[in-house]
């Protein structure tokens, strides 16, 4: 187990470096100039050139390495050693104002939202995405597992078909439709929940439910398949023959095996729920991380693209690791 964890963590920097290189090459090739406004007034050409130089946008290798030293903390360490950091603090103190914040792993400035550093953007959006993603997966787990078990106990019954149909709808309906429907019914007509925004628990219910639907549907199908297979197995017949209560058979013996595929799906699903919620974020006005993937590329905001991609890659690796660890713990046969 320890070897697994350390081995994976040791791979992480290498994985990130490869992702960094590929993403930057692709993002660099996106047409458009992030320093120009798409519409409206344009700064003079000399200014655009000067800005390009400032951000190293005039040379791929320079950008590649300068971003790397900044994001890995090398820049911070060198400023710390050379005394530049202390100097900055003293200057600010002398002027009677707060010193500019510095980050160890500095992901750079956003080129579109000029007053924000990518670190700040991620720090604001990530907790929102974590809550939204976790809540959606939680709902999906509860709903999906229950629906799957019900379906598997009586295959082809009315209850089974109903859950299958609902699962099908959950997978096929785009979330902007579901989201708008929920909004109109529960927020506008009945005023159970606020129409959007983020911060209060009541504002989290509708987006989490909307986001959970496709995951719930998939989990229900995985569970149903696993349960049907498990319920036909010899050890279940033995368990029933022993005279165990049906609930014990279902939830303790059958579900334990049927849950394994669900568990391995949970890792990537959680990572996707946290970052792939662009539409839900838009409909419910949730300030999460998902929108920055899309907006970053649309605005060719290189620093933002790199920042969110690196964060997402790290999350994906970590969640898969957690799931693998859980997997072994749930099923010790796997090594």
């Amino acid at each position: 187990m320890r070897r697994l964890i350390f081995g994976r963590l040791a791979q992480l920097p290498l994985i990130l470096l490869v992702i960094y290189t590929i993403t930057l090459a692709l993002a660099w090739a996106v047409p458009g100039n992030p320093l120009e406004n798409p519409e409206g007034r344009q700064p003079p050409a000399a200014v655009v050139e000067a800005m390009k130089r400032q951000y190293n946008l005039d040379s791929f290798p320079r950008f590649y390495f300068s971003y790397l030293t900044s994001a890995t903390g090398i820049d911070y360490a060198s400023d710390l050693v050379s005394g530049r950091l202390a100097e900055q603090r003293e200057q600010a103190e002398a002027a009677g104002v707060a010193a500019p914040p510095r980050y160890i792993f500095d992901l750079g400035p956003s080129l579109k939202y000029e007053d924000w550093r990518v670190n700040e953007i991620v720090a604001g959006a990530l907790p929102v995405s974590i809550v939204l993603g976790f809540a959606a997966i939680l709902i999906a787990l509860v709903v999906g597992l229950l629906a799957g078990v019900i379906g598997a106990v009586k295959p082809n019954s009315a209850a089974d078909i109903a859950t299958l149909v609902i699962a099908l709808i959950g997978i096929s309906l785009p979330s902007f439709v579901v989201g708008m429907l929920l909004l109109i019914v529960f927020a506008v007509s009945f005023s159970f929940f606020p129409v959007g925004g983020w911060g209060k628990p009541s504002q989290m219910v509708l987006p989490a439910v909307t986001l959970s639907l496709p995951f719930a549907a998939y989990i229900a199908r995985l569970t149903r398949m696993g349960m049907i297979e498990a319920l036909g197995a010899d050890y279940i017949r033995t368990a029933r023959a022993k005279g165990l209560a049906e609930n014990t058979v279902l939830f303790k013996h059958a579900l334990k095996n049927a849950f394994l595929p669900v568990l391995s799906y949970l890792g990537p699903a959680t990572a996707f729920a946290m970052t792939g919620s662009f539409v839900v974020e838009k409909v419910f006005n949730v300030p999460g991380l998902g929108q920055h993937f899309i907006n970053g590329v649309l605005n060719k905001d290189l620093f933002l693209i790199m920042g969110v991609v690196l964060i997402f890659a790290t999350l994906l690796v970590l969640f898969n690791l957690i799931v693998d660890v859980l997997y072994r713990w749930v099923d010790p046969r796997i090594s």
Binding site: P38, E39, P43, A50, R117, G124, V128, I130, G196, Q291
Partner: protein
């Protein structure tokens, strides 16, 4: 079983911890949805309307425009008075004694010099650097500094790190000495600012009221600038615009700004005109989805949606217009009483769409013609010939675009400057288009014959002599529908072949800049109350001249107007300049003037205006019946009426 529950518990724990650490904003006295997310709150770097709107809350320039006055009269801001020399080139501003920053420190004239100099440094990348270049010597300073850092970039490789640091500091000192010696911007003492202009600029005070001309707090901002030994420029970091760091001088201070979540502002206790405020707090939630904005208004979460863009806005507005038509007599009677648009809306309680308001913008939607002799692929460009441009402009059915495609009541445009938006300026007649001949088939036939004759004159005997005409536009916002309509007109009336080219906005921008197009859509929200805010777009070599239009006679008129001291004569020169581009040369063909749809209850919110240049100063707003402030309806004042409620 415990093992199965563990993932669930982990998830629940994660949620609990994060929710517990998130604190929502308290309710505010006034809540509104801005046009879009703020891009920057650094006044010298901003150019988006939504940024400028917030900047007018957070910062105060030397003077302000009174937007509740029918002519947007200039009133004192940080400067309590000013003097203008007889030749109108030297302005002396006297700062008021009680002008303070939000931390209580006094505002000095030196800080204005520092702030404006920032805008004039190429490394600041100010979108509006050009506006500051009315100041004597400032354009040269900009060029000089650009050349200085460019030369450094070329030789930096030969220098050792120690030499680099020394050299960039020497260059900076040299640049400051150059600035002090040559640029007409001086602080005579802490309270007196003297500005020498290159030429008389009748709209100079108007510029001084523009948010980009606001001061920034030097002790704070200078912490974020450092000389970069790699480029020789000042490397600017941002972030000082955010609370709790930020220090500002306007009616409100920024208490909280959370990315993509919203801003929260509170009245600035140190603002000299603090007593004039009728609200204490303003919340500006970030709501990007158009439907979400409408729902937020319907449920009372926000009081003003400043740019209603939901698809069904057309239906909402239609309903209102139908009601107004039905009650035309009543509307006329109210108009005759001198009520403005919002007061009339308040006086018609049965209007089912009483909260929807169409407000004119100081902005125009048009089509560009590429004026270069050849296209980027080397083919000859038919639109190099002004006669071809004129013919194409004549046959666009603008009224159909406005009435059938957009359907939000935008005024048809046949001049680039919205008519009546600038006091003292007379617009030229402009070119007629096909929709001007409604109900006059003979007139239309003659008009079309004239257009076709122009093509023949230009050497295109038959439409097939012309290449396929490409219309370039960016995705979204219905530009595709407008392009289809225009293409149809050109096919129908001129018999030419057309092709539509829809691109991502970044690519679109690149194509325009490199003149890699034949015709394209464009739009412009103008800045200050002078025709040059539009006319400079067509000056030879202007950075925003995407048409690459160049006419020495036109440039000469603009230059002549620059040195004309008599306002009436000057305006006449500018009218002639606009006539050239709107009747003869047509580098661009105006289609319509933009309209914004507001959503607010006129019985509750007062202080918004419907001036043709519709700038909203939100610190003027009063929410009626909230028990705070004066709770009196604010209306637009006519020329000569005194300003109530101010200590000034």
């Amino acid at each position: 079983m415990v093992k199965l529950l563990l993932p669930v518990l982990l998830l629940a724990l994660g949620i609990g911890v994060t929710v517990a650490t998130d604190r929502p904003d308290p309710p505010a006295d006034f809540t509104f949805v801005n046009r879009g997310d703020v891009s920057t709150l650094d006044p010298q770097r901003m150019s988006w309307m939504q940024d400028l709107r917030i900047a007018r809350l957070l910062y105060e320039p030397l003077v302000r425009l009174d937007v509740l006055h029918e002519n947007y009269e200039v009133i004192p801001g940080v400067a309590e008075r000013w003097e203008v020399s007889d030749d109108q080139t030297v302005y002396t501003f006297y700062l008021r004694d009680d002008a303070k920053w939000s931390n209580g420190e006094p505002i000095t004239a030196h800080q204005f010099v520092y702030s404006w100099r920032r805008a004039l440094l190429p490394e600041t990348a100010s979108d509006y650097a050009k506006l500051f270049q009315s100041i004597k010597g400032s354009g040269d300073f900009f060029e000089w500094r650009s050349a200085q850092t460019q030369a450094y970039a070329d030789r930096v490789a030969d220098l050792s790190p120690a030499e680099r640091r020394e050299e960039v500091e020497r260059m900076w000192d040299e640049a400051m000495a150059y600035f002090d010696a040559n640029v007409g911007l001086k602080a005579l003492d802490d309270r007196t600012l003297r500005i020498e202009l290159k030429a008389p600029t009748p709209y100079w005070l108007d510029l001084c009221a523009f948010a980009v001309f606001s001061p920034v707090y030097e002790p704070l901002v200078s912490q974020y600038e450092r000389l970069s030994p790699e480029t020789g420029q000042i490397k600017i970091e941002f972030g000082w615009t955010k609370p709790p760091l930020t220090v500002t001088n306007g009616p409100f201070v920024l208490e909280r700004w959370r990315f993509k979540r919203g801003l929260y502002l509170r009245a600035n206790e140190h603002w000299w005109d603090r007593d004039s405020l009728d609200i204490e707090t303003i919340a500006i939630p970030s709501i990007e989805d158009p439907n979400a904005a409408v729902l937020a208004f319907e449920t009372g979460a926000v009081q003003w949606v400043s740019d209603l863009t939901a698809d069904y806005r057309v239906a909402m507005l239609r309903k209102k217009l139908a009601f107004y038509e039905e009650h035309a007599d009543e509307v006329e009677r109210l108009k005759a009483q001198g009520l403005d648009q919002f007061a009339i809306a308040a006086a018609l309680p049965d209007d089912p769409r009483k909260n929807v308001h169409a407000v004119d913008n100081f902005a125009t939607y048009w089509y560009n013609f590429n004026c270069l002799p050849t296209l980027t692929d080397g083919r000859p460009n038919p639109f190099h010939d002004a006669r071809v441009r004129r013919a194409f402009a004549m046959v666009i059915d603008k009224k159909t675009i406005v009435d059938e495609v957009n359907r939000v009541g935008q005024p048809v445009a046949n001049t680039i400057i919205p008519r009546g938006s600038i006091a003292g300026y007379t617009s030229p007649a402009g070119l007629e288009c096909v929709s001007d001949f409604e109900g006059d088939p003979e007139g239309l036939e003659a008009h079309l014959a004239r257009a076709r004759a122009l093509l023949v004159e230009a050497g295109y005997e038959s439409p097939s002599d012309l290449p396929v005409i490409e219309l370039l536009f960016n995705k979204d916002s219905g530009h595709d529908l407008i392009a289809q309509q225009i293409a149809r007109d050109w096919q129908k009336y001129l018999g030419v072949q057309t092709s539509l080219s829809q691109k991502e906005v970044g690519v679109f921008r690149n194509d325009l800049k490199n003149a890699n197009y034949m015709t394209s859509r464009a739009g412009w929200y103008a800045d200050y109350a002078d025709p040059t805010t539009f006319l400079d777009l067509n000056r030879t070599g202007d950075g925003n001249n995407d048409r690459k239009y160049s006419n020495p006679a036109y440039d000469a008129l603009l230059d002549e107007a620059k040195f004309e001291l008599d306002p009436a004569k000057r305006m006449a020169l500018l009218t002639e300049a606009e006539r050239i581009i709107m009747e003869d040369d047509l580098p661009m063909v105006p289609i319509f003037h933009y309209v914004s749809l507001y959503l607010f209850d006129p019985d509750v919110v007062t202080g918004l205006n419907n001036h043709p240049r519709a700038n909203q100063d939100i610190y003027l707003i009063d929410v009626l019946g909230d028990g705070k402030g004066r709770d009196q309806v604010k209306r637009i004042r006519r020329e000569g009426e005194p300003r109530p409620g101010s200590t000034n």
